[in-house]
């Protein structure tokens, strides 16, 4: 495999509602920041790829409009995935494996505030027998949480502690949306939202965007003092039918982790894309992380959850932390689909 490194990352602080800016206006500053920080001129970037979904803003082909923020002239080599930006990164990584281009711009954007995100996410379900019933994202996650609770894999207290830790850690992350110190006891006194989930078990609704520049080995070493290399990356998907899956396990994460080589060396910390508290437990176990491995120092998706952005943000947060010298090796995870249907695992290693 050709060596590929993340050389820069930029994100917009996530907010509940950006009243003022359209997608392109939100993207513009993060694209400029990521490209400027990469040390690679925009005209020299070999490939551009984005992740987003039109259903979120209700504007067909919104990803084409978003290209205005890139400045796609002279015509650029470009692609888009109707997925979290982490899958756009995967496509960019594959593109760089071809060997004919050395760098790529990857970005993601999502404005959940324009619509009803719980209803929007229903659109990704089986359109014949499931979507017509209108199950929303929180309800489906609650069914999964119940399976874990029934099996004794987690407790409502552990879930509350994950929520409390995430928002407390987010206090050190200026880009995070929910940043406060509220203990598990306080959280457990709250009523259920969709039993067994309380509001604190669920992610915030967020508007956000992020961008990343990746480069192949030599170029990465030339432009970055401490490039963060993608030591392994893989993604796997499970069946669409919720009743066909064991919701109490994440075999797709486990397989992706194996293929990405998570267990090959010590993991200094992990950034897990778990929008719901119980999902952190599932992913943590499926990744095979050693007990005590720090999880989500950024606050994770429980602190800010711009849909289609939060997964790529996990990888970017992990890379930024390694680049700053806070560790040598990290695991980043992204998810897509209901109840962790699809999972991407990325192992990152800083090499000075």
């Amino acid at each position: 495999m050709r060596e590929v490194a993340i050389v820069s990352f930029a994100q917009l602080p996530a907010v509940r509602r950006d009243h003022v800016r359209e997608d392109t206006e939100m993207l513009l500053p993060v694209l400029h920041e990521a490209v400027a920080a990469s040390g690679i001129a925009k005209k020299d970037l070999g490939f551009t790829v984005s992740g987003s979904t039109d259903y979120l803003c209700g504007r067909p082909f919104s990803f084409v409009m978003a290209l205005d923020a890139v400045g796609a002239f002279p015509p650029i080599s470009e692609s888009h995935v109707e997925m979290d930006g982490a899958w756009a990164l995967y496509e960019a990584w594959v593109r760089l494996q071809h060997g004919d281009v050395d760098s790529a711009l990857v970005y993601a954007f999502g404005k959940s505030s324009l619509g009803d995100v719980r209803a929007v996410l229903t659109q990704q379900l089986d359109p014949y027998l499931v979507a017509p019933l209108g199950p929303d994202s929180v309800s489906l996650a609650a069914l999964q949480a119940r399976v874990l609770l029934d099996r004794g894999r987690t407790t409502e207290r552990e879930m509350a502690e994950i929520a409390a830790r995430s928002r407390r850690d987010a206090m050190r992350n200026p880009s995070a949306q929910l940043r406060f110190d509220r203990g598990a006891d306080l959280l457990l006194a709250e009523p259920y939202l969709v039993e067994p989930l309380r509001r604190h078990d669920c992610p915030p609704i967020s508007d956000g965007a992020c961008a990343m520049v990746i480069a192949a080995g030599d170029l990465a070493r030339r432009v970055s003092r401490r490039p963060v290399f993608i030591a392994g990356i893989d993604h796997r998907i499970e069946a669409q039918g919720l009743g066909l899956r064991d919701l109490g396990d994440s075999p797709s994460t486990r397989l992706a982790a194996e293929r990405a080589g998570v267990a090959r060396a010590k993991v200094d910390f992990a950034e897990i894309h778990a929008p719901f508290t119980h999902q952190e437990v599932l992913v943590r176990d499926a990744l095979g992380l050693a007990p005590g491995t720090p999880i989500n120092p950024s606050g994770g998706a429980l602190a800010s959850n711009p849909v289609m952005v939060a997964g790529l943000t996990r990888i970017g947060e992990a890379a930024a932390r390694l680049q700053a010298g806070d560790g040598e090796r990290a695991v980043a995870h992204a998810t897509s689909g209901p109840c962790l249907q699809q999972n991407l695992v990325c192992v990152l290693e800083a090499r000075s």
Partner: protein
């Protein structure tokens, strides 16, 4: 066993709140006053009316606000003969791209005031504004464009804007 079901109706309905963005808000506010505002790209100097956030060619924010005139040139057009739901215009009618004087990107609008088969590339037109009291904050503040009576524009004057 009874017949197999062949198909099902699965309507999708999603409600949104569209936001216009800063530049389009300025545009919509001005159009109610009978003014057309655009933005100029600081890099390539092109003027976009309506404004569209970043310059799609350069990928930089368009900064300077520019007022343009309500006259322009038909760069290309089509004649609509197909009835469709919600249609308000009498068939056939002309839908055209109008390059406003002072703008670099044409905008789509209706052309009225002459027979459909008389509309041509290069036709000079002027905005027909809705009465001030009825003007909405939308492109419908201009009812349509109609011939201004000037001689046709030369092809060279709009060939870069097709």
């Amino acid at each position: 066993m009874s017949d197999v079901v062949k198909g099902i109706k699965v309507p999708v309905r999603l409600a949104y709140t569209a936001i216009a963005g800063r530049d389009m808000t300025r545009f919509y506010q001005a159009i109610r006053e009978g003014k057309l505002l655009g933005r100029r790209c600081p890099s390539c100097r092109k003027v976009y009316v309506p404004p569209r956030g970043p310059c799609p060619t350069c990928g930089v924010a368009t900064v300077d606000e520019v007022a343009v005139r309500d006259t322009g040139t038909v760069t290309t057009f089509c004649i609509v003969n197909v009835p469709y739901e919600g249609q308000t215009m009498k068939l056939p009618y002309v839908y055209a791209m109008v390059l406003l004087d002072g703008a670099d990107l044409p905008l789509p609008h209706l052309v009225q005031g002459l027979e459909a088969d008389q509309v041509r590339m290069g036709l000079r037109v002027r905005a027909s504004w809705a009465p001030e009291a009825e003007r909405p904050a939308s492109m419908e503040a201009i009812r349509w464009f109609e011939p201004s009576g000037e001689p046709d524009a030369s092809y060279d004057s709009y060939r870069e804007h097709l």
